[in-house]
Amino acid sequence: MSNNFTEKALEVAQKEGATEVIARLVEGPNYQIRFSNSNIDISKQWDQSMLEVFIAIGKQITQVDIQDPTIPKIEQIVKQATNFAKRMPDSQLYATMESKKQSYKAIDGLYDKTIETFPEKAPEMVNVAIEKALEVGAKRAAGVLYFGKTRSELLTSYGNSGSYDTSFYRMTIRSFVDFESSGQDVVVGRNMSNIEKKFSEAGENAGKLAKMAVGGKQGKAGKYDLILSPTVGGNLFGQITDGANPLMLLLNMSPLGDHIGEQITPEDFHVVDDPHISEGLGSKPFDVEGTPTSKTPIIQNGVLVGLIHNTTSGIMMQTESTGNSNLTGFFGSGSKFLAPEPTNMVYSKGDYSLDEIIAESKKPTIYVTSNWYTRYTNMIEGEFSTIPRDGMFLIEDGEIKKPVRKLRISENLLKMSKRVEAIGKDRKQIQWWEVYTPTFIPTIKIADCNITAATQ
């Protein structure tokens, strides 16, 4: 497929004086269907073919993306980028990259060939989800479906090379009974089998939640236990586990700075960065440096035990790369650099069903099914607030009493994580607008959370 694009990029960069080079070619059509008011609004196809080239001359670095690469384009762009790198000062965040010759184990299940014919079927599948939501009581449904296939091919100047194919789908469906009574579900994976059933269930879940939310009134501010659905937990706990990253610590964008080796959750709480799950949208056999990916414990028995690393952060913190290197950047594609990035964050299951967690909630408790707009007063302290949206329910004496609305969770990440009271066995993969890192997480209950509301 590549027409030797990766080889050519290395050849040109090295000829111009690069000491270390990475070339990664990512190809494959991706698709999106957006829908609202129970109708498809737009169908899209992105015809992607991009060569990413990372260039180092000692510690002088740069990175360039080449859309629709051709040999003449590579010759000129990589030459120019290498000469650009020569004019850069040394990067504080670059030491070196993976230099050992590596081999990789394939991960089963990353690619399902039926994705090839799915574009024809996709509108119908979207309508299956919509119809199911309407059938169980919703009046309208909105959402987004992404799907596609990707081939990734890597070559580094240390001779590490490999390729893998992936398929994926990700659908968010939000159903409405009226303007304020809504419910959402997310369905994510790589295996296209039983897709109609999966979409139908997502529509059903969203529709039922919307119906349950009808008649909700303004809730009261105060202290409540909270039951967080996987969607909400993926966002809030994701703020903690995504912070187990040396880059985030270095920039003071993580609350975990002084807490490595400390108990930050109860003992039955475990989280691992796991790149080897077939269905995981972050799964891959090797990272962008060519380091084989591996499972990295983040929280074990409640203790913050590890961080994800690439080669440079491993050297900085006197440890090894965990195979989490990726090209990342802030605010603009012009300044990407190598940094650790999570693959799939996997939270251990607990023993409780959602019904059991609800039944055992004797204190005033709120079940939050979705949230958005999490923002910080201070990222080091972990002071944040977030806004529940969709169905939110007040539980008293072990029973859902009524839907409530218009409340805000105003909390502290690490204080909150110490108050985990129950962990569900209903783990599912979440990735949507508010959860960037693919996260396998169950329902989680937290005691004594601060809930606020508008004062006027």
Binding site: I42, T62, D65, P123, A142, F331, G334, N378, S385, R389
Partner: protein, 488 residues
């Protein structure tokens, strides 16, 4: 040496070809948008470079209307055969939508024109060394200030963006444009007596390299960081009860953006962003009232969204549907006056588009977006606002903020904030005061607005995949009466 193989003329030719081909293939409407963009960026941490680079991107977006549905394809493969396939697929996908209610665009004038942002010093003509030196020197300047040691981490980011565009649609409109944008961000942490304070600050404009000097950016960054350190050292928690609150143009700007700009987006109001950025409480108001008649705040409240402000981050003269830009008077004398519309939603609102359609890349669909949203001026100066306050706070900057997805319940946490006592602004700093109010609560409490204005920059987030749109959000300073601070 020109390393790019596709010139603007080539891009225009392929877009012209696309419109012709799509029309022949049966599209009811086709729009081809060729985009050639250059993104350059440098990031430093505590005075040392983290990364830097230049990325050039060229591609074409094809958007078609066929059988009442919309299909969209984008590709960087600009040969005719690839573009033909993209068009055929876009038509096929549009037809497969099988919508019950067909999408129809409002009728708009056919326009053939060119526009660009005035630039004195082209960013591509400034050497990489000079750009990096600017960032390095600014970091050194911050460290050399009296407060420098308290700035424990300093992340400075310079981004330079140049976008050339050519849009051609099957109605005959053809618009060529070039926009130069500069952004400078800081994300800094100051250590003080009670712990740390953090601030993410964005500034930006559609100018050339001269922006730094003409807008006194270095001086603004120095003052901003001085305030951050001062806050970390001096701010004290206070229980203030019900008080008056005066907010700066920065805080007024985020309120204008979140509490008015977003709920004014026509696609939100009618549900198209339902599963992503959310909907709008305006739909409740529009059930039995009309635009121009809905009271949302005090008579002195005027909110404007204006893409035509010269030098602004959200500047444009024609939108991505070839409609001529103009100021949008979203709230006029306390009444909801107008909403933001593209052609699809202008038709649904039975009016004309007000040119709110923007796309952030060749591979993104155009959506209804704000440009530069601001609190319109009153007739006071800031001292007059202080004079009438017995007990209050002056919130000059903000940190955490959020709002529900119908844009009704908002929260703004003050960063640099001072106590006002008996009509005098004191130097007593209030730690993290919280405005947690509904949109009606906010606008209904406004009683006076200043003549002056400021225009901080932000990237407005919307849609899926997210499209961060550069916007100014600012305006005049605003006084609100009898506010119960939240979070207690």
């Amino acid at each position: 040496m020109n390393i790019w193989f596709i010139t603007m003329k080539d891009g225009k030719d392929i877009a012209d070809f696309a419109v012709d081909y799509g029309t022949k293939k049966g599209a009811n409407y086709i729009e081809a948008r060729y985009v050639d963009s250059r993104d350059e960026g440098y990031t430093t941490r505590n005075g040392a470079l983290i990364g830097g680079g230049i990325v050039n991107t060229q591609g074409i977006a094809i958007r078609v209307l066929a059988d009442g549905g919309i299909g969209f394809c984008s590709t960087a493969k600009l040969e005719k055969d690839h573009v033909k396939k993209a068009i055929e697929l876009a038509i096929k996908m549009a037809k497969a939508s099988k919508r019950k209610e067909p999408i129809i665009f409002s009728e708009e004038d056919v326009v053939k024109t060119k526009w660009s942002t005035p630039v004195k010093q082209n960013i591509a003509d400034i050497s990489e060394e000079e750009k990096i030196k600017f960032v390095y020197d600014l970091d050194k300047t911050l460290v050399s200030q009296d407060y420098g040691e308290s700035l424990v981490t300093r992340t400075l980011m310079l981004n330079l963006n140049d976008v050339k565009k050519y849009i051609h649609n099957s109605e005959g409109s053809q618009i060529e444009s070039e926009k130069s944008l500069i952004f400078f961000y800081t994300f800094n942490t100051a250590k003080g007596t009670l712990g740390t304070e953090q601030r993410f600050n964005g500034m930006g404009g559609s100018m050339g390299w001269e922006w730094f000097e003409e807008e006194n950016i270095v001086e603004k960054v120095i003052l901003d960081n001085e305030a951050l350190v001062k806050t970390a050292i001096n701010a004290k928690e206070m229980k203030l009860g019900e008080i008056d609150v005066i907010v700066s143009g920065e805080v007024a700007g985020i309120i204008a953006h979140e509490n008015t700009g977003h709920p004014s987006e026509g696609d939100r109001i009618l549900g198209r962003e339902g599963a992503q950025a959310g909907e709008s409480f305006y739909i409740d108001l529009l059930k039995d009232q009309k635009l121009g008649e809905i009271k949302i705040g005090s008579e002195c409240v005027n909110l404007i969204d204006d893409p035509t402000l010269p030098g602004s981050a959200g500047f444009y003269l024609y939108d991505d549907e070839c409609v001529k830009a103009r100021p949008r008077y979203l709230i006029k004398n306390g009444l909801i006056n107008e909403v933001l519309l593209n052609r699809e939603f202008a038709y649904k609102f039975e009016t004309k588009s007000n040119a709110s359609s923007r796309s952030m890349g060749y591979d993104r669909e155009p959506l209804i977006r704000m440009a530069n949203t601001y609190f319109g001026p009153g007739d006071h100066n800031i001292e007059e606002l202080f004079e009438d306050v017995k007990k209050g706070i002056y919130m000059k900057s903000f940190t955490e903020w959020n709002i529900d997805d119908r844009r009704f319940q908002s929260k703004y946490v003050g960063l640099e904030a001072y106590l006002i006592e008996d009509g005098v602004l004191t130097d007593k700093m209030v730690r993290r005061p919280i405005l947690e109010l509904t949109t009606f609560g906010l606008y209904g409490s406004v009683d006076a607005i200043t003549k002056d204005a400021e225009f901080p920059m932000g990237h407005c987030g919307k849609s899926d995949p997210g499209q961060g749109a550069p916007c100014w959000m600012g305006g005049s300073q605003v006084r609100m009466r009898n506010i119960r601070l939240g979070g207690e």
